[in-house]
Amino acid sequence: MSNNTVKELSNEAQPHTRKRSTINVAKMRKSFALKPLAVGVAGVLLSACSDNRQDAKIYTSVDECKQDFPSAVEKCEAAYQTATSEAMRTSPRFRSEYDCEHEFGPNQCQAVNTNNGSFFMPFMAGFMVSQLLSPNRYYSQPLYTSYSYNSPFRSRWVTADGQVFSGDIRKRNYRVRPDSFKPKPTVNRTMKRGGFGSSVRAKSSWGSSSRKGSWGG
């Protein structure tokens, strides 16, 4: 089969002539080392095609927003406030300053003390606003960026849950899906781990102990 055939899209008009996927082989290579899983916030472009995307703009200060919307300065203030309180609620949290700076860079993290304990989180580097002038509601969410050479977020905009925007931080205008602004649930701290997986331990005690088989089927 020639390379051309591999790249050919499956032909809807002749569904019975081809039963195979088209696959970009290069993308399937795994020669790179995986990052440690605990820190690994998978990076991905937010550019997936979608029909209901809306214009959004990233600001690094309230003033930038006000310059764009001189007639709606109070809305810029409100959008900024929304983003900062959202950042307190959902930002990535780290047990140590070292872990946080490993991901976001030197001096990019702050210590936070709450009733539930203390942790480190990155400073909000910008906020993304959409439909600011809409009479119904506007969208606003905090964004982060990294100055760490170790991080896939370096010089990129990234959301609290690890979605990385295409282009570097100089890019400020995007078209995003409304769900990019969907709020994440709050986590103050994890009370307990290990509440799933006990059946595996029980079933594993059967049979030759050297075998660690699949729990799929």
């Binding site: 899906r177 769900d179 994440k184 290990g194 088989g213």
Partner: protein
């Protein structure tokens, strides 16, 4: 349907390392075996496997719809009663499913027979969706296989599309992926699904099932204390429902993939209900709950298997009323079913089982596994296939 000996690609093990296929050899035995392949005709694929798979899937969904409406059946299916609402709600919302694998006895002639439906946690996905595809591309390019060789395999394309639909359905840009520790096979399967999800534009984070935490706010968390809101889990629902965190499932409000209504499909009791509702369907084998009046196991050959079991464990053969254990295992406390024996076809001394993949409700490809014995277990070998 033939079994054709074939020259393995030179250095394919090195290639496997490059592509992250780390479980081609398991327990010191070959798992991926390209010293032969299976050849099907297009008619065999389309008429005997593809179309029946789509139909069987619809029949299975009809059973789910019936089971969630009946407390008696939910009990028969061993769904814990305090989780009935969880399962019912998931079905009534039509929570989207990703994939499943129907295990079929197919000899190349006559109707394929459904052995069971791996609807919750099917593995051997990577080798089906990508690795056997790559084998075909390379063997055709090398001139080892005819240029017009095809393969029933649109898995990867359909998985990527399905992830796009799911991200749209739930309005998400990020998902977690989870499996158990210490199994390269499961981790490989999940990594492959993460790759497909990324291709669909999703951020795909990973957490081990054992590391999932519960937060003060009632949501599940990963090791970075980030909330798990949408999660693919390669972990059986019948385990999850019965474990410590099982009671927190309804409060944690996770969109699980597979959704909890799949607990009905991956259950061997399904085979009994299918036979009861679609009796004499050409793709079904007679099946009953063990000990039921209809189960006339005094004559003929029957396979007895646990309502919940994996990788061919705890199987016995009932031959004219005499029961003999074929495989040991840790399952069976929830009861058994009996299913009429349909022997796997034997090719060059190998017992051959067809796995027919569906992505959501669309047939998407097949896998072929061989075993030296009549029961396909976790030491079976995976062989590629072609259509010619």
């Amino acid at each position: 349907m033939f079994r054709m000996p074939c020259q393995p690609r030179k250095g394919w093990q090195q290639l496997a390392t490059e592509f992250g296929f780390h479980f081609h050899t398991m327990y010191g035995e070959p798992y991926w075996d390209e010293s032969a392949y299976y050849q099907f005709s297009l008619q065999q694929i389309e008429n005997d496997i593809e179309d029946p798979s789509a139909e069987l899937h619809q029949m299975c969904l009809a059973i789910v719809d019936e089971v969630v409406k009946s407390e008696e059946l939910l009990e028969k299916f061993c769904i814990p009663s305090h989780h009935w609402d969880l399962v019912r709600d998931s079905w009534h919302r039509r929570d989207p499913s990703l994939y499943s694998r129907l295990d079929l006895v197919y000899t190349g002639k006559g109707p394929a027979k459904l052995l069971e439906n791996n609807a919750d946690t099917p593995t051997s996905l990577y080798e089906s969706g990508f690795w056997q595809w790559l084998w075909l591309e390379q063997q055709v390019n090398a001139g080892v296989l005819p240029r017009n060789s095809d393969q029933f395999n649109s898995l990867q394309e359909k998985l990527v599309n399905r992830f796009k639909e799911i991200s749209y359905h739930y309005g998400i840009g990020q998902m977690h992926f989870a499996c158990c520790k210490d199994t390269a096979e499961d981790r490989g399967t999940v990594q492959y699904l993460q790759d497909c999800a990324k291709e669909a534009g999703l951020a795909a984070d990973f957490v081990f099932v054992e590391d999932i935490g519960i937060a003060d706010t009632g949501v599940f968390t990963d090791l970075s204390d980030r909330p798990i809101t949408d999660c693919f889990k390669l972990y059986p629902w019948e385990f999850m429902l019965n474990e410590e965190f099982g009671d927190l499932l309804s409060g944690a409000n996770v969109n699980w993939i597979e959704p909890s209504w799949k607990s009905i499909l991956s259950n061997k009791a399904l085979m009994v209900l299918l036979w009861a509702r679609f009796r004499d369907h050409p793709n079904l084998l007679p099946a009953y709950f063990a000990g039921d009046a209809g189960a006339d196991t005094a004559t003929g050959k029957w396979i007895k298997k646990p309502i919940f079991s994996r990788e061919g464990a705890n199987i016995s053969l009932i031959d004219n009323g005499h029961e003999a254990t074929l495989s040991p295992g840790p399952y069976g406390e929830e009861g058994y079913i009996v299913q009429a024996l349909a022997p796997l076809p034997v090719f060059d001394g190998n017992h051959t089982l067809i796995g027919s993949w569906l992505v959501d409700d669309m047939p998407a490809g097949i896998s072929v596994r061989e075993d030296n014995t009549a029961i396909t277990q976790d030491l079976s070998r995976y062989l590629p296939h072609i259509i010619l």
